[in-house]
């Protein structure tokens, strides 16, 4: 089971992600530099971690989405490999065209870091396979640009295609996202992007270990 975590200049939850993944899957993931042109050949899943790649300058994730490694990430995603983007990683997936819509400034215009309640809406992604639809769990968010927007048509497609993976539950929407969207998948279900940080609730010293389920979901891939 080999997971590749991509490191961009300005990524800052890369270590958090590497730690959480190593702990839950029992195997150290690859730490892949953005300027590389190919993923390690044994890669079975890809994770784009949180942070402020390129300072979030221009648009969040815009510059990282055009990094050399991304051509290979896009190819792998199109072949059906599981790809997870968390926070800045979600923004990068959107900028790379792997997921629809846009992530804009939080409606409050402020950065927000706190715990919110998430509800699982779909378990089609490999990363969500450890959850059951309707599960509600508490998870931290930490972002300034997590306000998911899309056109009414796009929203209808997301709903019709079962592409909404997680929503903010119980009025805890921290950023103004349309339809309380916290995370979405592509139509095929192999690419998942989400704003909240499951990697910060995975290790024994963290407030809960619910987030570890996302990475345990990958263990099936090894079989």
């Amino acid at each position: 089971m080999a997971v590749s975590v991509i490191q961009f200049p300005g990524s800052n939850r890369d270590q958090d992600m590497l730690d959480a993944m190593a702990h839950t899957t029992g195997k150290a993931p690859h730490d892949v530099w953005h300027a590389d042109t190919a993923l390690p050949t044994d890669t079975q899943a890809i994770v784009l971690p949180g942070g402020f790649s390129y300072g979030d300058y221009l648009r969040c994730g815009a510059i990282a989405a055009r990094a050399p490694i991304m051509a290979d990430v896009i190819k792998a995603a199109e072949r059906g490999m599981p790809v997870l983007g968390v926070c800045n990683g979600f923004q990068i997936l959107i900028e790379a065209g792997l997921l629809p819509g846009a992530l804009m400034r939080n409606a409050s215009l402020r950065f927000v870091c706190k715990s919110v309640d998430l509800r699982v809406e779909s378990t089609r992604s490999a990363f969500m396979s450890g959850f059951t639809k309707g599960d509600v769990w508490s998870c931290p968010v930490a972002h300034g640009d997590g306000n998911y927007v899309c056109t009414p048509d796009m929203l209808k497609n997301l709903q019709d295609d079962d592409c909404i993976a997680v929503t903010y539950a119980g009025g805890s929407n921290p950023n103004g996202s349309v339809a309380d969207i916290a995370g979405i998948t592509n139509k095929a279900g192999n690419v998942l992007g989400m704003m909240p940080h499951p990697e910060n609730i995975a290790l024994p010293h963290q407030p809960s270990q619910t987030g570890a389920k996302l990475f345990e979901g990958l263990l099936n891939l090894a079989a």
Binding site: Y54, G55, Y57, L58, I63, R66
Partner: protein, 88 residues
């Protein structure tokens, strides 16, 4: 009352560091645009407003920039366009 569409351009003062422009210029080179020497990023504000006449509209816009839209410590602003709109 007349109705106007205005465009305000806000740019960083000369010499003020522009990390955003710097990052964009670097990324453009990385994408193979070799002729790019520098990029400076600013803001554009398209404002729809009502005022009794052109001069008042301009004065209002300047006041909005001074008080809120521009950070005059590090930014300059300019009213780049002001056109009257016909209301339906």
């Amino acid at each position: 009352m007349r109705h106007y569409s205005a465009r305000i351009i806000i740019t960083l003062k000369n010499g003020v560091l522009d990390p955003q422009g710097k990052a964009s210029a670097g990324a453009l080179s990385g994408l193979g645009f070799e002729g790019v020497n520098s990029v400076r990023q600013g803001k554009v504000m398209d404002v729809e407003l009502s005022a009794s006449d052109d001069a008042t509209a301009r004065a209002d816009l300047a006041a909005m920039c001074e008080k809120l839209l521009a950070n005059t410590v590090i930014e300059d602003f300019e009213i780049a366009a002001l056109t009257e709109r016909q209301m339906a």
